[in-house]
């Protein structure tokens, strides 16, 4: 998995590419943890190039959403590919996360 970080105004965009599984979820967890520790409150995950996610990846997103919810922050997910969307649907994550077709629409919120 590759993680590319960028910032637009006060929103941090993390673009994930490849495969997010139990073997590398800790890399993302550390990255997100560091951003939240630094006081970031607006995160958008660009998932357009993420091919695969397992429950280990969902866990990282849920932990981030809980932390952000506690500080009135915001977490948006953009560009989910069909397999990733299916995992979100089965896990019941599609209804609890803000999901956008692309990063541009996520940034408008």
């Amino acid at each position: 998995m590759d993680i590319a970080e960028s910032k637009r105004n006060d929103t941090v965009i993390l673009a994930l590419a490849g495969r997010l599984d139990a073997n590398n979820a800790n890399v993302l967890e550390d990255k997100v943890g560091a951003l939240l520790d630094a006081g970031e409150q607006h995160l958008v995950f660009d998932l357009a190039r993420l091919d695969y996610i397992s429950s280990a990846g969902l866990r990282v997103l849920l932990v981030a959403a809980k932390r952000l919810g506690a500080v009135d922050g915001q977490l948006g997910l953009a560009g989910l590919a069909p397999p990733v969307r299916e995992v979100f649907d089965i896990a019941g994550f599609s209804s609890i996360f803000s999901i956008y077709p692309d990063v541009a629409s996520a940034l408008k919120q």
Partner: protein, 139 residues
Amino acid sequence: MSDALMLHVKNRLAELQRMDQLVRNFAARHALPEQATFELALALDEILTNVISYAYDDAGEHDILVHVSLDGCDLRVQIEDDGRPFDPLSVPTPDTSLPVDQRPVGGLGVHLARRVTDRLVYRRESGKNIVLMTKRVDR
């Protein structure tokens, strides 16, 4: 026509990606639909992740046996490990309707595996955990 794949997996999470590739190669060889291929890979990943992460009390190397077979439209994946007894069906089904702040962290892996397969059964035999998942595929 039937075909089978017997794979030896070490108890390391780095093995997950290698397994994914081997299963996708198997699926491609039989022209399985994209969604079924993904679901097969996910179910195997989730069960293997649990075994590798939680089954062993020691830090030593263990061999996990994965058997994938296709017989007509019936896809079977069997995972066999010599770790401590663990029945994945004992994991409670998560309430996927809870809001973020009430969602427990974890417990989704087995749920995903069960939902993307038609049947998941467990047995303990000769000191081994054996998980068998079956799935009907359109071909």
